[in-house]
Amino acid sequence: MRYKCIPLFLIAVTFFSCKKNIPNPVTNREPVNFGQVFDDYWNGMNANYMFWDIDTLDWNAVYSHYSPIFNKLDLQNKKDVESSVAYFRQIADGLIDHHYYLSFTNALLIDSSVYPAYDHILHDTGYRTPYSYFPLDLKYLDTGYLFGYDNTTDPANPLIVVSGTIHSNILFFSCNQFSLFSSFHSPVSNNAQPALRYLFNRLHNPSGLRGIVIDVRNNLGGDISDLNFLAGQFITTPLQFGYSRYKSGNGRLDYTPWISSVIAPQTGATTITTPITILCDKYSASLAEIFTMAMRLLPNCKTVGETTFGATGPLTDYGIYNDGSFTVPGFMSVKTASGEFKYIDGNIYEGKGFPPDYPVPFSAAGINAGTDVQLEKAISLLP
């Protein structure tokens, strides 16, 4: 009996010892047919997209519906390749990520793109094109304002900044994007530097100011380092404005815990008790929104204008968190947020935008009459 036990035992061990070979559908292959293009896109999204916890799009249903369609397309057929863009547009239409942007590296589609957030704005009843307020607002500024234009630091994305005063005691600052740190510290002299120096000097010595207006309308964001660089000039103690989290695995809901998002005070900053107004609009996106939301936490700050764009998830290179933007080699690039941002109030404003304290709609009539109604509202709120 003793030795009869052994074969039974070995059979049991063999039966249970089958090793698992776990497949990973996320690949870096160059697809050779449309079935693979779709699979690689779908799997890349499945693993890398940040908002599966709040996005209402049924991604499994997308697979069931579109996989057979893509399998019928021919990657060598020009008409099929072109028609694929419309399918990608349909798929992406329901995604909450307002950074989401598809560009195509396939030679036939090089001029095509899919930008669902902008498509939604385009179909809004109140649609308007982005408007640059610089020319209009310069009329409100006292003489001696500083207009800075830096096209040397990043020639593809020139920075425009304006610093000055209104009625001699309201400090005004506006920028078209966030690349302030790089321009300010650029070894190549540029005229954004004196405008920024003036702003920081006045913020560090705010006596005599009755108000501060910061204009981030039509500002699509930029370098995250500018958040500390600019907002950190207004505070003397760290300011927690929210939380961020990232993907921690390939599962759709694999996230790191939420970590606090904090602005660090900058050297020379003093506590500013002067009332602050932030101007924002529906084209205030990404870092411009985060800046607005962070500044809004200061007890002396209010926001005026329109609800912001709703692209609050931060962006960075894929390798930092192994999530966010990815490519389907030889066919497309997918730009999507690398993190999920939750505001200090517990709300996620991705896809919704951050509402202003004082909503003032865009006024084409006002602009035609040479009036910036939003700026005037901001000024009227100051004591």
Binding site: N43, G249, N250
Partner: protein, 245 residues
């Protein structure tokens, strides 16, 4: 509170069933023992798409009750209810070395197996079986780059060089009903030695290997990458014969 009650019910089931069995077994050649030791776990999955990332096994502990019913001289059935901590970490490498996430997951486990014993004075035991586990609690600890805490500097050529500060976290794992598969089943192998130092008592040293057959995550999506716990435990224990030979 509800989850606490739920946990208690599961825990009761885990320990009550073996104790019931014990009363029944006590009329045959049965033994009871206690053992404790260390565990070493690993998460078997596929992260080939995640750059500069490795999974490492981490150490935990295990504490079990040993219940054995001798079927024949060399052949026994054993039931080993207990607690095992299954710990592993996901570590970034290269320029991101220092970024990590470690998981300390505590499982209630109920392995049941068949064991063979050889020898007289110093006995060798081998066993195989299956187990049922319940993911009772977890703790997650790590360091991740904080995207909003960038320290920028400018290179002599004017290029902005940004480096993210790492932010630490260390908190209780919050279970997700949508994602987490808290019930685990798998198979087990065991090898060990035991030394009887009286008619009724013996000490043992055992190594066990547990391989989960159920993924740690529920099937949320098509093409989901599965994740399986793989655990080694090394224990020492003492057992007592319940019946006179």
């Amino acid at each position: 509170m509800i989850s606490l009650l739920y946990n208690r019910r599961i825990a009761t089931a885990f320990f009550f069933i073996p104790l019931l069995s014990l009363t029944k077994l006590s009329h045959a050649q049965n033994s009871i023992g206690l053992e404790a030791g260390m565990s070493s776990s690993y998460l078997v999955t596929n992260i080939s798409n995640r750059t500069s990332t490795v999974i490492n096994s981490d150490r935990g502990f295990t504490a079990n009750i040993l219940l054995r019913h001798t079927i024949y001289r060399c052949l026994s059935a054993e039931l080993i209810p207990g607690i095992t901590r299954k710990s592993y970490s996901i570590n970034r490498t290269d320029s991101l070395a220092g970024v990590y996430e470690s998981f300390n997951n505590t499982y209630l486990q109920l392995p049941i197996g068949i064991s063979l014993t050889y020898g007289r004075t110093l006995q060798v035991t081998i066993a195989s079986g299956i187990y049922l586990g319940y993911w009772m609690a977890g703790r997650i600890k790590g360091k991740t780059p904080d995207i909003y805490a960038v320290t920028d500097s400018i290179s002599p050529s004017g290029q902005v060089l940004g480096s993210y500060q790492l932010k630490s976290y260390d908190e209780k794992y919050v279970f997700s009903k949508q994602r987490d598969n808290r019930l685990e089943t798998g198979w087990m192998l065991e090898a060990g030695i035991q030394y009887p130092f009286s008619h009724q008592y013996w000490v043992s040293a055992k190594a066990r290997y547990y391989q989960a057959l159920t993924s740690q995550e529920k099937n949320l999506s098509i093409n989901q990458v599965q994740q399986y716990n793989q655990t080694w435990t090394f224990t020492i224990g003492i057992s007592r014969m319940l019946d006179k030979k």
